[in-house]
Amino acid sequence: MSDLGKLRDGDDFAARLLRAGVTDAPRSETRQRAATALGLSLAASGTTMVGASAQAATAQVISATTKLGFVTLARWLGIGMLAGGAVTAGTAVLDRAGNRASPPSELRISHPVASSQGSLPRVTAPPSIGARVESAPVDSLPSEVERVETPSAATTTRRAQVPSSEHVEADSALSKESALSKELALLEGVRAKVRAGDGRGALAELDAIQPSVHVLAAEAELLRVEALLESGNREAAQALARELERKHPGGPQSFRLKRLLSAP
């Protein structure tokens, strides 16, 4: 029997069902979690951000950009008024400026983080994305954003704060996501040192960041094993690996630990 045509090329119901199956794909978060569990660097794992996460990130960029534009505009107007000795008038302008559209900006924001569902570790999201937005509505502003200047602008990084009781919940969620993104970024720094063969540097950095790493503590310990191996301290690496295995018997790290320690 030679290879046949595909049923999905037909125009019946069976073909429709098969075509729906062909386009099925895992979520980007699923890929990212798996890449992290395998110890693959997030930036180089070939994963892309699509779907709900991308949409959520875009929404955050839009709202954050609008707010940043407003804050910047308000600040400059306020400074101008103060220089002219019209403090009262400047305050009034600041109040009225609340509904104005924002100028173009470029922002760097934290990526949303997936929730934990199953038995395997769920770690997700590249540390950040960049985006350009021309204008956006003023509502739904987070209270804190980090600005990355465009090439033509000054290189100073500013932080703008506008307290708003309406957005406390959103701020809290962003803060949690930001915390995990920071942990990921910290561990990526350690991983880079290990890959560069700087075991001692990686160990020193791990010691320095240890108080800041909570969610990804297991990943940090695994990196410590790698760093110990890289620095030539195989005995300590083996001892730590045994300790990790004792704490988490048969866990997903076991494979990586065995792989690491199988090197000559």
Partner: protein
């Protein structure tokens, strides 16, 4: 206790590069294969991850030309184990972990339709016995040739052809029944 082999030739860095290449090339295939073998999306995420963890721990056993076959074989075993676990623990319902479709380009109506069609696809596939389902999914959804399927599943090409023929008949019958019910 961890086994600590001392005389392996692979270095961690080389292994990581190979794991990364395998992951980038085949993760979507493995996840989709697991899904179409009848595993709900919530479980498929974990099983696909588990398959790659297993394979990454056995890289030195895998010939470069047989990586996809190794992944497919591992997927079949992992899914079979998963089914046995579910039979032992029926309180863990598959439906509870079924998630939304992943296509970010579809509008809400298309998403609903896509999800409905995929659910019907899975019901039609559920009518196939395991020995027919694997070859059918690989041929019809993953575009593997008969020879590749024979290689992937470790069975003769003629057996693949006869299983595929039976699978196509059964699938089309199931789809016709489902079409009547969905009108």
């Amino acid at each position: 206790m961890l086994a600590m082999p001392e005389n392996e030739s692979n270095t961690p860095l080389r292994d990581e590069a190979r794991t990364r290449r395998l992951f980038d090339a085949h993760f979507d295939f493995v996840w989709r294969f697991v899904r179409r073998l009848g595993v709900a999306e919530g479980f498929a995420d974990d099983l696909a991850q588990q398959i790659f963890l297993t394979v990454s721990g056995r890289l030195h056993e895998i010939e470069p030309a047989r990586e996809k076959a190794f992944l497919a074989g591992t997927a079949l075993r992992v899914v079979a184990n998963h089914r046995r676990t579910l039979r032992r623990r029926p309180e863990v319902g598959e439906d509870a972990l079924n998630g939304e479709p992943a296509d970010p380009r579809a509008n809400p109506e298309e998403l609903v339709e896509q999800r409905r069609e995929r659910a019907l696809l899975d019901r039609a596939l559920d009518t196939l016995p395991a020995e027919l389902r694997g070859p059918f999914v690989l041929y019809e959804l993953e575009d593997a040739s008969l020879s590749e399927i024979a290689e992937l599943l470790g069975i003769p090409r003629g057996t693949v052809a006869s299983r595929l023929r039976r699978a196509r008949q059964q699938f089309q019958e199931a789809a016709r029944e489902l079409a009547k019910g969905s009108r």
